[in-house]
């Protein structure tokens, strides 16, 4: 998964487990950038009576670097508070929830937003309401209305939303974690079975989303509007973190400074690139210290496994012994000028896992879910849009498709441009406006679908 349950420790702490990070120039508001950080993997929509919520004891953050040192120049912090209206019932709600202040809604969350710029914190808002979870037609009959009411424009120019959404990430986990199987090509696998279409393992599951839409001018180092795609000032790097206080006493307080327990920049990095023994450490590391992991990016284990798992399919990849400068550029520094005509998202020589966005690239009129390798520079790895097929993009990159960009003598295997888990995201219910991720699956309907005989 992009980053769902990707490391041993964080897999036991779902409310602090970042699952996906998206960043893109807002298609309906091209002077704004939208950043979405998802948490809490694999929410079963019917998981009541204590439906999912953010952790009151977790410090959630979205970091932005705008000068290439992989240190945060701007950080948005989000803190949540849960309140119980009626402690004398076991119910999440005691009747239909018709508004965010409905007395029938028992267990609620509100949150505060703090902006830290150049080390100085400024409280932007507090007491902002989250929507309830999507329970079913009796409890949340107008879920869209509830969610829309939880979109909060802030006086400082940003717009925020925090609450449940449908998980927009799509991936065939069932096959990939079964010895690297890809159903469309499993007839070529070392242990072959007839080829089949992909199956989205996350379909029907929800996540908890923190989304913020920010004027571009507030993101550049000098406050300018990014207009030149070839200017370094147009590029920002982003990552999200969750932190817990250093010490917790069971049944008692938490105390001490907040300590990072989860991190996410580029999709699938801690999942696929970082080895098991270092995953927890990677989650606690800052991007400016990522040089220590560079070898794993430049000699990825998956590139070694593909020719073994798919015999005779990747002969050129098998013979490729050079360090993968293409992957280092895509994931650690951004793509410098001269690699892809008319495009760059280079943030400098500091090797750091950040999701990089060239804000001067306008939204695509007809987005290609394969992003840059599909000829659409408004998509991954230039930021990441919800519809971007990051599984196929990264599979193809690791398979050698992008190595030819840095070594013209290399010929990618024919399969490198075709490899996929068989999903394209076209069945996702994304929205055309903020917060873009789809209406969460409701417990009532999803249970009925998943338990039909």
């Amino acid at each position: 998964m992009s980053s769902h349950r990707e490391a041993p420790e964080i897999s036991k702490d779902p409310v602090a487990d970042s699952t996906d990070l998206y960043a893109f120039v807002s298609p309906d508001k091209p002077d704004m950038v939208t950043i979405i950080a998802n948490y809490i993997p694999l929410e079963d929509p019917a998981g009541g009576p204590n439906f999912f919520q953010f952790g009151d004891d977790v410090l959630y953050a979205i970091h932005i670097d705008n000068d290439g040192d992989a240190k945060p120049d701007i950080t948005y912090q989000f803190r949540f508070t849960t309140s119980l209206q009626n402690p004398n019932t076991f119910l999440y709600n005691t009747g239909p929830i018709s508004s965010l202040t409905d007395k029938n809604w028992n267990m609620r969350q509100t949150y505060s937003v703090t902006k830290v710029a150049k080390g100085r914190p400024t409280g932007l808002a507090s007491g902002l309401a989250c929507p309830p979870c999507n329970i079913g037609p009796r409890s949340t009959p107008d879920y869209v209305g509830l969610a829309n009411a939880a979109v909060h424009p802030l006086p400082s120019g940003e717009t925020v939303f925090a609450g449940q959404r449908a998980d927009g990430f799509y991936v065939d986990l069932g096959s990939i974690f079964d010895l690297g199987d890809l159903r469309p090509f499993q007839n070529l696998h070392l242990i072959p079975t007839p080829a089949a279409g992909g199956a989205d393992s996350l379909s029907g599951f929800n996540v908890h989303t923190i989304a913020i839409q920010i004027p571009k001018r507030q993101l550049t180092a000098d406050g300018s509007m990014p207009g030149d795609p070839m200017s370094s000032r147009s590029v920002i790097g982003m990552w999200t973190t969750a932190s817990r206080q250093k010490v917790g006493v069971q049944g008692g307080p938490s105390a001490g400074p907040f300590t990072q327990v989860s991190r996410l920049g580029n999709p699938l990095v801690n999942e696929v690139i970082i080895p098991l023994g270092l995953k927890d450490q990677w989650n606690a590391t800052s991007p400016d210290d990522d040089k220590q992991y560079a070898d794993f990016y430049m000699k990825p284990e998956l590139a070694t496994l593909l020719p073994i798992l798919y015999p005779n399919v990747f002969p050129n990849l098998k013979a490729l012994s050079a360090a993968r400068a293409d992957l280092a550029a895509i994931l650690l520094t951004g793509i410098p000028t001269g690699i892809v005509p008319g495009f760059q998202n280079f943030t400098g020589k500091t090797q750091a896992d950040m999701l990089r966005l060239n804000m001067a690239i306008p939204p695509a009129a007809s987005p290609n879910s394969l992003g840059l390798i599909g000829g659409d520079p408004a998509g991954f790895p230039n930021g990441r849009r919800p519809q971007d097929d990051v599984v196929s993009i990264e599979l193809r990159a690791v398979a050698g498709l992008t190595y030819a960009l840095v070594d013209k003598s290399f010929t990618p295997d024919a399969a490198a441009s075709k490899v996929t888990d068989g999903l394209d995201g076209k069945d996702q219910n994304f929205l055309s406006s903020f917060p873009y991720l789809g209406v969460p699956f409701d417990g009532y309907a999803t249970s009925a679908l998943s338990h039909v005989a």
């Binding site: 206080q245 010490v247 006493v249 307080p253 105390a255 001490g256 400074p257």
Partner: protein, 82 residues
């Protein structure tokens, strides 16, 4: 000691010692002593390695690290019932 009075800290910990290496301390104690500082939140003292003589004091989001082998030794003695 930084920020926190050692004498007061010893007093708190003596009243509330519990568990090896991890001592949760209330800011106002049964004997009516008040903390010497303006700490109003629970205070946690963490000794990762008693032989090293270092204590982390944490309250709210603050952490102060002390190097005081004598204090650690006396706290450990309390755990031993001495």
């Amino acid at each position: 000691m930084d920020n926190v009075s050692r004498r007061k800290f010893l007093g708190w910990s003596g009243a509330a010692a519990a568990g090896a290496g991890l001592l949760a301390v209330a800011p106002r104690l049964a004997d009516g002593h008040k903390p010497a500082t303006n700490v109003t939140e629970p205070l946690v003292a963490y000794i990762e390695n008693p032989a090293g003589g270092r204590i982390s004091l944490m309250a709210g989001t603050q952490e102060v690290v002390l190097h005081d082998p004598d204090l650690v030794s006396r706290l450990m003695a309390r755990l031993d019932g001495r």
